[in-house]
Symmetry: C2
Subunit: 235 residues, 2 copies
């Protein structure tokens, strides 16, 4: 039987052996929700990079630059971290270079050891689940968290994946059980459940409530962003 596990923050990834695992990186608010949206709207590839400087270099080489720090756009880049920015027909076929506070770092951390790295969000939850069911590998959902700390929204998504796969996979570890139970508790009113979360308060201050509602919608898109070499593409 395949195993499914959850890592609540990239700062705990060293405790997980992932050489037989597909890693689903999730950063619900908002990096992986952006990525899923981008592929749904026809973007060709996304190159996740760790630093703003790398992103700038790639911009000079023809990439469209998307850089976010502390939930805000970095000056000098075309795209911010709102999924609505990616719904733009001028971006069809584009190659994007992206750096975010938490999400892209998690992808970088996972890529050296994992069998495959996917980007997951509520927007493509069912597409991810269906793909995993066809694969012979264990699964680790890696929550991007916030600056090393666990957060509620990524934990909820991890729990949604575990909940969907719990009958076919072995749920061995407490982080996976905790995430699943949290999702089961919250799933009928995720906005209510998240009302006091630290990131929701951060985003409210920035006035982007519509991003929050958007990112919590399930199964809008049938896309599976997967890392090929250093770039994410739609499978």
């Amino acid at each position: 039987m395949k195993n499914i596990d959850v890592c609540l923050t990239p700062d705990l990834l060293h405790l997980h052996s992932i050489d037989n695992s597909i890693v689903i990186v999730t950063d619900i608010f908002r990096a992986t929700s952006c990525m899923v949206t981008a592929f749904a709207y026809g973007i060709e590839s996304i190159l996740p990079v760790a630093t703003v400087d790398e992103c700038k270099d790639l911009q000079a080489r023809g990439y469209i630059g998307a850089a976010e720090r502390n939930a805000q756009k970095v000056e000098g880049f075309e795209l911010d971290n709102s999924p609505f920015s990616y719904m733009d027909e001028r971006l069809i076929g584009a190659k994007i270079a992206m750096t975010t506070t938490n999400g892209t770092l998690s992808i970088t951390k996972a890529k050296s050891a994992a069998v495959k790295v996917l980007a997951g969000a509520f927007l493509n939850l069912n597409a991810i689940v269906k793909y995993l069911q066809t694969q012979p590998y264990d699964v680790l959902v890696l929550c991007a968290g916030w600056k090393g700390r666990p957060n509620l929204e990524d934990t909820l998504f991890a729990g949604a994946v575990v909940d969907a796969l719990k009958d076919e996979y072995f749920v061995a570890e407490d982080s996976a059980i905790l995430s699943m139970r949290t999702y089961q508790q919250a799933k009928d009113d995720m906005i209510g459940y998240l009302a006091n979360s630290s990131h929701i308060r951060r985003l409210h201050r920035l006035g982007i409530n519509k991003d929050i509602s958007y990112c919590l919608q399930r199964d809008l898109y049938d896309v599976v962003p997967i890392l090929r070499g250093n770039e994410l593409v739609n499978m």
Copy 2:
């Protein structure tokens, strides 16, 4: 307003600034439940040490040795990690040296920076809460976890502390919200909630079900173990 926060494992303690905080270390199964029981039964002091070797040295200097690794007693020591071992009138007034897989390490990690370090368990939940209310400091509940990973039972205890103090303290961070909601979900049937947890399975294999039921009882003892210098004493 004072802040209350939760650190789900000692591997994330570096993300928390604790120089204005009282840290409550918890290792429900079973180190801090043992400590609380020990003081309730008249033990004088507990010296937590990180290694089995240190524990052995102290034994040679007259301490009673308690050493546990992987949930089992290490050979050559008087006491194991069952709270029932500490209900022994021959131990009244005794000085104990203790090392455990997770709990004592967390105390060692917290002690350099925190204002005060306490040992908390369901057994002395209310005593801890009442003491914190008299203090001007922030609170961090530090879950010992299992070998660096979060676990359910320590998260539940952290949530119980947050739940009891939520009206008087600012609950800013998601780990604290997650713990509190988990406790609220589980509090009426904690044994049921923990039924599939990794550590419960580990303990079942060792045949110590009665320790589990015992450690989940709330407010049996009015003791507050506090670190003075290197030793825990009853306040």
